[in-house]
């Protein structure tokens, strides 16, 4: 078994053509997922037991089942029902990209909301008391104390989740999307050379991952300027 370097050089540009789709899946479902996560978090902190429970059940289900199953249920499963195909949502569900974004959003939202909750719970209670003692309102405390500190606390875990999300986008290839992995699988099907193609793709993902880590690292540094003793 020899490693065909030419094949790598030929297939890499083709695979990179799918980078845009991978990036789009990551950014769109990442941001929608964050919004969903915040909604779930607010539900959990609302103090209303039915909202809390609803959010908990949602999180439990979406964290308890594999993302691949979720993707398949949404893409192949939902259209089993006529009602779905006739509904307004069909325009989104009809498109594989819509399905992938929906599945990834629902999934990452569940995870991220728990991460954010961890951050909020991690904020020193004494600081909130200090805020109260200074007469700050609940909203003031949320905006000026809880949010910035929780963001800082949640950031490392959140960056891991973004990386998981990036990797999950590869599963979009199972529902016909020609992202980097989808293109790679087609090339393999044409060339019957899985190693060359998959290894070079793995390297592309790794570089992408490292870039994300670096980016978050910088952001974390910025947010942590108050935790350094020396300037």
């Amino acid at each position: 078994m020899s490693f065909d370097l030419n094949l790598v050089l030929e297939s890499l540009p083709q695979m990179l053509a799918g980078f845009g789709i991978t990036l789009k899946l990551l950014l769109v479902s990442g941001s929608l997922g964050l919004v969903l996560a915040i909604v779930l978090l607010l539900m959990r902190m609302s103090g209303k037991f039915y909202l809390d429970w609803l959010a908990q059940i949602y999180i439990y289900v979406f964290r308890g089942t594999p993302i691949l199953v979720q993707i398949f249920i949404i893409y192949y499963g939902l259209p089993q029902f006529e009602a779905v195909r006739d509904s307004v949502f069909w325009s989104i569900l009809r498109e594989p990209t819509g399905c992938a974004i929906l599945a990834l959003t629902l999934n990452t939202g569940a995870y991220v909301s728990e991460i954010l909750r961890g951050g909020v719970l991690g904020v020193d209670k004494g600081l909130l008391e200090a805020g109260s003692a200074l007469g700050m309102s609940a909203r003031h405390k949320l905006i000026y104390i809880t949010t910035p500190l929780a963001t800082r606390l949640a950031l490392p875990a959140y960056s891991n989740d973004v990386i998981s999300l990036l990797k999950s986008t590869a599963l979009a290839s199972t529902i016909t999307i020609a992202d980097m992995t989808g293109i790679a699988r087609t090339i393999v099907a044409d060339t019957y050379a899985p190693y060359e193609v998959f290894i070079s793709l793995a390297i592309v993902y790794m570089i992408f991952t490292l870039a994300i880590q670096k980016l978050f690292g910088l952001f974390e540094r910025y947010l942590s300027r108050h935790t350094r003793r020396e300037d």
Binding site: Y76, R85, T174, T186
Partner: protein, 244 residues
């Protein structure tokens, strides 16, 4: 001697698993027939279609008996026995959408494919045919044939190209496929569809290949192959001259 045989296991009526967990279908019958004749024990490995040839090359199994057509392109990487089934394709679409996709000589009219989403299984003869004949077509690639049918039904694709025998038996004659029909003639150009479907094996195993060929000829000449087909279809799926 034990040989491992790769197949999809989700390609009814040629190879699939029943609710009882038994493998069944035309390919499976052929495999069993061959095993008996060459006196080997066959062990079946289920493999997604697009990894079939890489898996054979990686020694995950020794034979492919999975309705794989004998094409030039595949023969660059692997070897095949002689054919044991026709290899053809046909385009399928919704009844209520009239479309004229082929001319009288049976050639595709490229313009009329414009605006149609075409569902195909990745790494199949159909995919190669579209790539060569209709390079501009809006093609969507699937991992297995079942998904292609599902998305045709769901309206995510407008037409699909598929095995006409399978389509007829498993789809058009059923409730799910009631709204669909063939949208053109059977296509079987040898450059794309090969001489037929054969058994795949790694190169350099001429002795094994001879044994397989002998066994297939025996099956044809004894009429067993025809009986396998007739379990499913009212007609046979091979040419008798393949037995010569």
């Amino acid at each position: 001697e034990t040989l491992r045989v790769g197949m999809e296991c989700t390609y009814a009526p040629f190879n699939y698993k029943t609710a009882d967990g038994e493998l069944a279908g035309y390919d499976v019958d052929v495999a069993k027939g061959v095993a008996k004749i060459i006196g080997a024990e066959f062990e079946y490995v289920c493999q997604e279609w697009d990894g079939m040839i890489p898996a054979l090359l990686a020694n995950k199994f020794d034979l492919i008996i999975a309705s794989m057509s004998i094409t030039e392109k595949r023969m660059q990487k692997i070897d095949f026995s002689g054919p044991y089934r026709f290899s053809t394709g046909q385009v399928l679409g919704a009844r209520k959408k009239p479309m004229e996709l082929f001319d009288d000589a049976g050639n595709p009219i490229a313009d009329n494919f414009k605006g149609l989403k075409v569902g195909l299984e990745r790494a199949t003869t159909y995919a190669s045919w579209f790539e060569e004949k209709l390079p501009g077509a809006d093609v969507v690639l699937y991992d297995n044939s079942e998904s292609v049918y599902l998305d045709l039904q769901n309206g995510r694709v407008d037409i699909i190209m598929t095995n006409p025998m399978k389509a007829h038996l498993k789809f058009l004659s059923k409730e799910d496929g009631a709204g669909f029909e063939f949208k053109g003639p059977v296509v079987d150009e040898v450059e794309y569809f090969g001489v037929g479907v054969g058994i795949g094996l790694r190169k350099g195993q001429d002795e094994l290949k001879e044994k397989l060929n002998g066994a297939l000829k025996d099956l044809i000449n004894s009429g067993d192959l025809e009986s396998y087909a007739k379990k499913i279809f009212p007609f046979k799926l091979h040419k008798d001259e393949w037995g010569q």
